[in-house]
């Protein structure tokens, strides 16, 4: 399509890539639970 639509599709794909990379890199992070939090 024109520049506007092409950019929209490009930014959509980049956002998708960002989310997938973030999810994969952080896949095993952030799972620590303190006893206080468990309560």
């Amino acid at each position: 399509g024109d520049l506007s639509v092409t950019l929209a599709i490009l930014f959509t794909l980049l956002s998708l890539l960002l989310c997938v990379i973030y999810g994969v890199v952080k896949w095993n992070q952030g799972g620590e639970i303190t006893p206080d939090e468990a309560d």
Binding site: C19, W27, G31
Partner: protein, 534 residues
């Protein structure tokens, strides 16, 4: 198409959903078996649950229809749905919301805001907003499902609304209100599989991606004159900058829905239900793929349906659908897809509608029982539990009736607009205070109330006197000032969120600067365990 086969498939699907709901209810009465109460939830379930709640028939049917007339510039909303609706929502808002909700023992969006400021007013006001305005969004979802039933089964629209309302009522009674994790997983997976199939099948049918888009580009002359005059000159290009449709697409749809998702009560509550940040991290990847396939398909297939219809019937989608945008996707599926896909898509639509409606009515139910009654109006006096249960059910029933009436009375092509109004209104009122309460310890209760009321009253004023479409319906501006809208020319199509959100943000920030934080112990408690990394 064999109606008997389709009816059997629908009954089979509903039976499976009812069984899963009942199994979720009966097999384990403790909270661990439920999505909304169980923390040992697999990230796939978390992402599917969020996705199935986020993506409804409003997105698939309503926004797909709008895209068929406005073109592929709606892909900017797809970008917003992924970048803001997934990445920003989960990474920036989700982690702090989860931890703060836990610290304050908050179970609903209004309760999170109310407890953060020790303000009953904020909790009751937010609860009332959900109770009063959520039926508008629920009606958009219900209309989408009814249009599919109307198109596939050939039954009148009014009967479709009533039949689906009964189905939703039965689903809610059978445990769907608890948004059982099994159901969410099945529904999310069905939506994903159906939309992915639709995307692939449509592009194959049109000879591939570039051929399909080139064919659509070549159809610029087929765009109706009134749409061309409003700014859309090609379905594969953006609208003319500052044209009426440029403002409709970017202020109402992209801004209203794209940002509005951050303060949707039925989505915010999802962040409070996961065990740790790890689940949120993983859900970012899974959720983004889900959203890309579902809404990306919708916003691409909507415009491309024009190519298929034009080659087959010599008319564009809008004309084939009887000039009702809400009928474009149902007619497109029914007329151009193989029969087996029609059967699959029927289940996709049932899943998309039921998963969203059940979460909407869960939000309405908790708003009545917890935010308005127990912790709001009757906090000091207390209420008997049976009374709360009775009033909650009565409230949900009233909401369902309002939803049905709206579904029958709202005009053609209303799904996307009704959704945008609700998303925009929630963002205008709550997004600024919600954002600041998560990140700024110096936000005050007076600042938050100023922002909420400022956003609400500016939105109300805009709907009554400024925004052409709604102002013309209410007629108040015409009666008082002799003109349908007080704003000249292009300004009459600018969405109220453009005025209301900055006012709300400015009031929240400015009033907080000149007033004092009165609940330091609560602030300390709310931010416990929250670091810069969150």
């Amino acid at each position: 198409m064999n109606y008997t086969v389709l009816s059997i498939i629908i009954l089979l699907y509903l039976s499976v959903m009812a069984y899963l709901g009942y199994r979720g209810y009966s097999s384990n009465k403790s909270s661990s078996d439920y999505m909304l109460a169980g923390r040992n939830t697999h990230p796939f379930i978390m992402a599917m649950s969020y996705g199935a709640t986020f993506i409804s028939t409003s997105a698939i049917v309503g926004f797909g229809g709008v895209a068929s007339l406005y073109g592929m510039s709606l892909m900017w909303l797809c970008f917003a749905n992924i970048f803001i609706g997934i990445f920003i929502a989960f990474v920036v808002y989700g982690k702090r919301t989860r931890r703060m909700g836990l610290n304050l023992d908050a179970h609903t969006f209004p309760e999170l805001m109310g407890r953060r400021f020790d303000s009953r007013f904020i909790q009751v006001f937010a609860g009332l907003m959900i109770f009063l305005f959520m039926p508008l969004y629920a009606a958009a979802v219900l209309i989408g499902a009814a249009r599919i039933i109307e198109s596939f089964l050939g039954v009148p629209y009014e009967l479709s609304v009533l039949v689906f309302s009964v189905l939703v009522g039965a689903y809610v009674i059978l445990g769907g209100l608890r948004s059982v994790m099994y159901s969410d997983a099945v529904q999310g997976t069905l939506i994903f599989a159906g939309m992915l199939t639709l995307l692939i099948f449509s592009y194959v049918q049109l000879g591939g991606v570039f051929t399909a888009h080139s064919s659509l580009t070549a159809m610029a002359d087929a765009i109706p004159d009134n749409i061309r005059n409003l700014g859309v000159t090609s379905w594969t290009s953006g609208p003319v900058t500052n044209s009426p449709l440029w403002w409709v697409i970017f202020s109402s749809l992209v801004l209203g829905v794209g940002i509005g998702v951050l303060s949707q009560p039925q989505l915010v509550v999802r962040f409070m239900t996961v065990k740790s940040d790890k689940e949120l991290n993983r859900a970012v990847a899974i959720g983004a793929v889900f959203i890309f396939v579902t809404v990306g398909t919708t916003y691409l297939i909507g415009p491309l349906s024009n190519v298929v219809f034009f080659e087959k019937y010599g008319q564009i989608a809008f004309e084939i659908a009887g000039k009702n945008l809400d009928r474009v996707i149902p007619v497109f599926i029914g007329e151009t897809m193989p029969v087996w896909f029609v059967y699959l898509f029927m289940m996709v639509i049932l899943s998309a509608a039921m998963s969203t409606l059940s979460s909407q009515y869960h939000a309405i139910g908790t708003s009545i029982s917890r935010d308005i009654l127990e912790y709001g109006l009757f906090k000091k006096r207390g209420l008997r539990e049976n009374t709360v249960v009775l009033m909650t059910r009565l409230g949900i029933l009233i909401s369902l009736i309002i939803t049905i009436i709206l579904s029958l009375e709202l005009g053609a092509g209303i799904i996307a607009r009704a959704t945008a109004i609700f998303f925009g209104l929630m963002a205008s009122c709550f997004l600024s205070p919600y954002t600041l309460l998560l990140f700024w310890k110096k936000i005050t209760v007076k600042g938050a109330i100023s922002g909420i009321l400022g956003g609400f009253f500016v939105s109300l004023f805009a709907f009554l006197f400024l925004h052409g479409k709604e102002a013309a319906i209410f007629g108040l501006s015409k009666a008082l000032f002799g003109t349908e809208t007080l704003l000249p020319g292009i300004w009459a199509v600018v969405d109220p969120i453009v005025f209301a959100l900055p006012v709300s943000a400015l009031l929240t920030f400015a009033v907080s600067l000149v007033t004092r934080v009165e609940n330091h112990p609560t602030v300390t408690k709310a931010f416990k365990g929250i670091t810069e990394e969150n």
